[in-house]
Amino acid sequence: MAEIRIQNVAKRFGDYQALSDINLTIADQEFMVLLGASGCGKTTLLRIVAGLETQTTGEVWIGDRRVDMLPPKDRGIAMVFQNYAVFPHLTVFENIGFGLRMQKLPNDEVTRRVTRTAELMHIEQLLKRYSGELSGGQRQRVAVARALAMEPDVILMDEPLSNLDALLRLEMRAELKGVLAESKTTAIYVTHDQVEAMSLADRISIMHKGRIVQAATPVEVYRNPAERFVAGFIGNPPMNFIPAEQTEPGKWNVAGEIMSGPAAGRALDFAIRPEDLSLAETGLKATARVVEPLGPHLLVTCDVEGALFRAVLESDLTVKAGDVLTLAPNADRVRWFDPDTTKAVA
């Protein structure tokens, strides 16, 4: 059992508030991804859980132990670093076995575990080599194997794939997911790559300016962003926003088109994902500015009453720059945001 509970954690570096009031519970065997732009505090939070950084206030619990004042070695964690951190003076075998040797396990047990994790990561033929003789992808495999060999309660990963080239990243992503699901450890994975986050996570915590903005399943985060920041961050291209005015309770004027929405006492922003738009008889009048054929579909950047608006349309349509399109939003997928609080309004 290794549930992780992060309670009221905050971190200051001098005058800089890196994290404020973080509350997060990660279930046993859950794969949690911390997603955010650089500088949002996601790595700091991971390092606090690892014990490489000390929080200014708050508590960290792993299982039923409070660990926030323990050194990293006593927390039952293993960590995979962005730049691999494979020890250059040891062979791959001794790298993977490093933690086991520190636990003073008998030789045959070390050999057994090293061999097994090496096979799992497909690096059994590299065991005698040194880090200098390995490619980036192989080093990353060693780093993951070294963490897995510890059989930790919790495995922490800090952008482990970001130094790999695109193709290798795709391959390692799928492999990591399988290996971690099998290992039955709780995982926290830090990344700035939303595709990586969506594909790996059981749940994603989206971080912004030192806070967790939303923690939910990938589909939920994508479909029902809790804040405008999430809507603009997740999805490529991101969600479209148009300021709307209420004409009567529940009826909204969106760029001249009347749509039904929540009954609210103030102005709201209408929001829709580019792929939830289609050409129709009635809808928003949009002037196409740039048309980008992307293969499976057509990305059209248009202008709706001066606001930037993107639509993903079927690729067999012939649309030219300058055309006026009538775009109908899928009514189920329309979302509303309060422009003042930036929060979603149901």
Binding site: G51, M79, F81, F87, G99, R146
Partner: protein, 280 residues
């Protein structure tokens, strides 16, 4: 056909001129260092008559007279022993004090860090003659004068800035993540240092130690001022060669130069690394 070769010649000639200039510069610089050393060698291995005669031969005679004279000279061996002791002590102390300082500089942020680095360099800005008198007085008062340990203390002060800066660059070359990885794999700060950092910097530390050895070995001023009976080789030779015939001066110089040259040659790779920081 001819046009093409002419064109090729035209592009090749400035490049060739550059290469000749480069070669000539390298040759001159090497000659600048090596020619005096070669004369030193010739004169050391020549008989007293050959040293004083003119013109000089460019081939040594392999006369070991001067060198064997030194080997049998009274006090020579004890001076050599003192030199080795002082240099050895300097080496140990400058690493023992310098390496932790280098580690702190590379790993921790603390108030006044930049000032501290600057002050380390500044210690080399005071000419030793300026400090010699107060040092001598203080050493006599504390009873450190004319001891191997006292002289090693002074030499450590001279070698320490280099030890700190070299080890600083060595530690900075070890990514922090390696240590952090070791911590997460069950190491304390200490075991992470001994199991991960130390094996990686050991060659560099050795080089830095040898460099400290050489600094002490070559130092003559403090050695001459602060010792009387227990002279180091440099101070001993300085004292005695002054009144010696020319061939013995050459031989004495040769004895001093060779060990330092060999040591420096052995650690040249790491000295380049140190100069790299100086450029930064």
């Amino acid at each position: 056909m001819t046009a093409i070769t002419a064109e090729a010649d035209a592009t090749a000639s400035p490049r060739r001129a550059g290469r000749v200039l480069y070669g000539a510069s390298v040759f001159l610089l090497c000659a600048w260092v090596l020619v005096p050393l070669y004369f030193l060698l010739i004169n050391t291995l020549s008989s007293p008559d050959a040293v004083n005669s003119f013109p000089k031969s460019f081939v040594p005679e392999f006369d070991l007279g001067s060198l064997s004279f030194f080997a049998n000279f009274a006090g020579m061996l004890s001076a050599l022993q003192n030199s080795i002791l002082v240099a050895g002590l300097t080496m140990v102390m400058s690493i023992a004090i310098g390496a932790p300082a280098g580690y702190a500089l590379s790993r921790f942020d603390f108030w006044g860090k930049e000032l501290f680095r600057f002050l380390i360099l500044l210690t080399r800005a005071f000419p030793l003659p300026l400090l010699a008198l107060p040092l001598a007085v203080m050493f006599i008062r504390t009873g450190l004068d004319d001891t191997v340990f006292g002289l090693a203390l002074v030499h450590t002060t001279l070698a320490l800035p280099f030890a700190v800066l070299i080890t600083f660059s060595l530690f900075s070359g070890i990514p922090m993540e390696l240590e952090e990885a070791a911590w997460t794999l069950g190491c304390t700060r200490l075991t992470a240092f001994t199991k991960v950092v130390l094996p990686l910097i050991l060659p560099g530390i050795t080089a830095s130690a040898i460099f400290a050895f050489v600094i002490s070995w070559n130092e003559v001023f403090a050695a001459a001022v602060l010792t009387i009976e227990n002279r180091t080789l440099t101070a001993f030779l300085l004292q005695n060669l002054d009144t010696s015939p020319l061939h013995l001066k050459f031989a004495g110089g040769f004895i001093l130069v060779v060990p330092a040259l060999i040591f420096i040659f052995a650690v040249r790779k790491y000295l380049f690394a140190m100069w790299g920081i100086a450029n930064r």
